[in-house]
């Protein structure tokens, strides 16, 4: 009952018969991306879930605490309700006592976004195999990244030292600033989450700086030039953009909502 009446001619040499060769038929890279780049993408996907878990934690904790319902102008710090970010993050280095809600963090965010732009330029220079340009733009990225981290350090230290007046805690003492157990600005979890999540993000920025430094050194030594491509810069670039993107979410959660 099977194929007896086939009149097909045999190929002259069966061994040159070719297997199928579509996009997903194997023997190629279906996403047109090397395995290294794919790995970076998948790592970032997984890292996104780590951050998502932290931000979910933030959302849930925020939800468990009361919101401030009074008038914006009359706001005072109290552990009874979640603070309004405008009143917590309102100082600027060198401008003591001036109320500038979110001005500093806006500047920080700008700097980080700039660093993403320079990163794009570094990757683009890599495509052109332009060693000098890669070096230049990597340096700029490093500079912006490091500036962002320093700003964060200032922001943390200001948060830790607190306002001039401090806040009267439940036990009657005046407390200034915040740490992981005490918080003048509101419920202790606000400070816990602030330190934890911005700290975790900062660690990512720091790792990014280490990777960028490596790329810079390798570029300067001509390692990538010899290799014939700057794919490493591209991979670190993916990571760097991801860290920037995460900051946008962190920023939204802590400062805007």
């Amino acid at each position: 009952m099977s194929t007896t009446s086939t009149t097909q001619t045999l190929p002259t040499n069966a061994s040159i018969e070719r297997p199928r060769s579509g996009t997903w038929d194997g023997g190629n890279e279906p996403f047109k991306a090397s395995y290294g780049k794919l790995m970076m993408w998948f790592f970032l996907l997984s890292d996104a879930f780590t951050f998502a878990a932290f931000l979910t934690t933030y959302g849930l904790m925020r939800h468990r605490h009361l919101a401030y319902t009074g008038d914006h102008k009359d706001f005072v710090f109290s552990s009874a309700y979640w603070p309004i970010p405008d009143h917590v993050f309102n100082s600027f280095p060198g401008l003591h006592g001036v109320d500038l809600p979110l001005a500093f963090v806006a500047l920080m965010t700008m700097i980080l976004i700039f660093s993403s732009v320079t990163m794009v330029l570094a990757v683009e220079a890599g495509h052109r195999m332009d060693k000098a340009d890669v070096q230049k733009w990597l340096l700029w990225t490093l500079l912006f990244g490091a500036t962002f981290l320093s700003c964060q350090a200032w922001e943390w230290s200001h948060f830790i030292h607190g306002t001039d007046a401090g806040t009267k805690m439940l036990d009657g003492t005046i407390f200034y600033g915040a740490n992981l157990q005490m918080n003048q600005y509101g419920p202790v979890l606000f400070a816990d989450l602030f330190f934890f999540i911005t700290g975790f993000h900062g660690t990512h920025v720091f790792s990014g700086l280490v990777l960028l430094t490596y790329c810079f050194i390798a570029t300067t030594n001509g390692t990538f030039e010899k290799r014939g491509h700057y794919e490493m810069v591209e991979k670190v670039g993916l990571y760097w953009h991801f860290v920037d993107l995460v900051w946008v979410f962190v920023f939204t959660f802590f400062y805007l909502v």
Binding site: G22, F49, F196
Partner: protein
């Protein structure tokens, strides 16, 4: 791509099909050194086959430890009145006046669960077979990154050392259950095991997660980028589909456990209050305010539920493969098998709260999760029916691997049915935290996944070590184990329905449970009997590595690519060209074919007598 080179390099299966090297091909080719230092050949090896064996042997080590721990606590449960003075040479101060220390009992349960779920059935199972089979079955010379693959093993190794060391601590290892719910796990004042033991547990698991991620990205990219010519996604063996989806599940769920572990570390060591609020210990109020222990449960089970499928899916894949091979029939419903794996993978992310029906959740949310949970029964049933239909009227060869695969199907059915019972929120109020749950997951996950593991070892042993395992010993091992696990876990359902709670050190204080004394004794005896039976396997395994009958290249007359390699493939897997693939992996007993199997690398032009009408175009 360059022009074809019509060389005649002979690949097993009779067909030498060659084409230009693909890029990764050349890239990996130079790895084929023969004069490597032994340290890099056997210890710090980047060869996926060596790494697979490292995972397997570490997994076997852990299984022995995990099994020993369970025998210890089953002694206590079976003979609560006896004295265990004879154990004090091994357990030292944990035997107090002839009695097992109750807190140590909790440590035993915790470590048993942790070791079995993560170190044996995750690392030992998927670490072994994903590593071994992915490159061999997709037709690659190695994993995408051999170096990261090696790191994956060594992270697992360090994680193992830390977890093992924690067994010997003065204050004992972690004792809060494998699910480590806070506040118990967060407060050293609560139980001694929440001191250094818990810290080491968390550090070890963090490293374990790193190992999983390094392995996972490798498995995924290898399947995507390194398939040989012709190996489309719809020609992949079901094993590869299962490993692929398992790796994706791990990639997306383990990071959430990582988050939970990190938050818990901060609560424990740096005074934060993420999971803690309003706690009094010994009349003393702790100053933790505002956190939520329920949040931990959500984060944990967001990993925890996908994790159970991370454990079972590789076993499902291997069983599908072994059932088809040894029934000499195409697997029934190949596409439905892939579809149901996809369905299970997706659903496994949206059912986690069925572990929390009674721990404080809005009942409305409970019914949503109940609905989603019960839907999982559909793809599970599809798989089960397909396995049975594959066996149906097959020309069955009862190899040891086949027996274990059939055993897997049996256990998966028995344990899956109770899942549907537990999935009903209203019934779960009675069943939660009883031995009914213990029975459920030990059948469907514990035993079934172990059966998958055994089936895999018996089936692929010839490719791993070039020798065969002993069949007679295999049969004895199978029957002892198969009867053993049913004797252990079936009675647990009854005990559980009666309300007997899990993780209780002694039940002698409750009159209502005293009628179960006999049953408990029986379960314990059966458990120890089944555990001891495993040493037959261990003997068989190590004996056969050195003394087993020599294997041929393709001892099971199988169709997949790993059987086209030499008896013991070297680094690089194929001495010549990598074979190309023309057909799906289940051409068994095809009408008109010369033999009852046609390997994937045989082109249609060579099999004109058996080609189906639509396949003639491909001749």
């Amino acid at each position: 791509m360059a022009a074809n080179l019509p060389t005649q390099s002979q690949v097993q299966g009779g067909i030498g099909v060659t084409e230009s090297h693909t890029k990764h091909d050349e890239h990996l080719h130079h790895d084929e050194h023969h004069d490597q230092h032994w340290l890099f050949k056997y210890v710090f090896s980047q060869d996926h086959k060596v790494i697979a064996k490292q995972f397997l042997i570490t997994g076997i080590f852990w299984a022995i430890i995990g099994g020993t721990l369970s025998s210890l606590f089953r002694l206590q449960l079976g003979w609560p009145e006896s004295t265990f003075e004879w154990l004090s040479p091994f357990l030292g101060k944990w035997i107090e006046a002839g009695k097992l220390n109750p807190e140590f009992y909790l440590a035993l349960v915790t470590m048993h669960g942790t070791i079995m779920v993560f170190f044996v059935l995750t690392a030992g199972l998927s670490g072994t077979f994903s590593n071994f089979l992915i490159p061999l079955q997709v037709g690659a010379r190695d994993m995408a990154s051999g170096f990261m693959n090696m790191l994956s093993y060594w992270f697992f190794f360090i994680s193992s050392i830390i977890m093992f060391a924690s067994l010997f601590l003065e204050t004992g290892p972690a004792s809060a259950g494998w699910t480590i719910y806070p506040p118990l796990s967060a407060l050293p004042q609560a139980i001694p095991g929440s001191g250094l033991g818990m810290t080491l547990w968390l550090v070890s698991m963090a490293l374990f997660i790193v190992s999983q991620l390094l392995g996972g990205v490798n498995y995924i990219t290898t399947v995507i980028n390194l398939r040989t010519r012709g190996m489309s996604m719809s020609k992949l063996p079901l094993t590869i589909w299962a490993f692929f989806l398992t790796a994706i599940l791990g990639l997306l769920s383990f990071p959430v456990l990582f988050s939970a572990a990190l938050l818990l570390i901060f609560d424990r060591s740096f005074g934060t209050s993420f999971f803690l609020s309003d706690i009094y210990i010994a009349g003393q109020a702790l100053n933790h305010q505002g956190g939520s222990p329920i949040l931990f449960q959500h984060l944990f089970w967001f990993l925890g539920h996908p994790e159970v499928y991370i454990v079972i899916m590789p076993a499902m894949g291997m069983v599908s493969e072994i059932l088809a091979t040894n029934s000499r029939k195409p697997v029934f419903g190949y596409r439905a098998m892939i579809g149901s794996l996809l369905g299970i993978s997706l659903l496994s992310f949206v059912v986690w709260a069925h572990h929390m029906f009674v721990t404080g959740m809005n009942p409305f949310l409970g019914s949503v999760f109940m609905f989603l949970t019960l839907i999982i029964a559909v793809p599970s049933a599809v798989k089960t029916f397909n396995w049975l239909a594959t066996l149906w009227r097959g020309n069955i060869r009862f190899t040891t691997a086949m027996l274990f695969s059939i055993g897997f199907v049996s256990l998966f059915i028995s344990g899956g049915l109770t899942g549907i019972i537990l999935g009903n929120a209203a019934i779960d109020i009675q069943m939660h935290n009883t031995y009914f749950v213990v029975a459920h997951f030990h059948l469907v996950m514990g035993s079934a996944a172990f059966f998958g593991l055994f089936a895999g070892v018996y089936h692929w042993f010839p490719k791993m070590f070039g020798r065969m395992m002993d069949e007679k010993l295999g049969y004895i091992h199978f029957w002892l184990t198969f009867i053993g696990v049913y004797l252990v876990f079936m009675p647990m359902h009854y005990v559980g329905i009666a309300g007997f709670p899990r993780r209780y050190y002694a039940w002698t204080g409750f009159d209502s449970f005293s009628q179960f004394a006999d049953l408990n004794k029986f379960i314990s005896a059966a458990a120890i009997f089944a555990f001891v039976g495993q040493f037959i396997f261990i003997f068989n395994f190590f004996y056969s590595i050195f003394r087993g009958r020599r294997a041929t290249e393709n001892p099971w007359n199988s169709t997949t690519l790993e059987w086209t390699t030499p008896v013991v493939p070297g680094h690089g897997n194929w001495p010549g060209e990598i074979p190309a693939v023309y057909r799906w992996p289940y051409d068994y007993s095809k009408p008109g074919a010369a033999e009852d199997f046609i390997p994937q690398n045989v082109p249609y032009s060579k099999t004109q007598s058996s080609n189906l009408p639509y396949e003639r175009d491909m001749e």
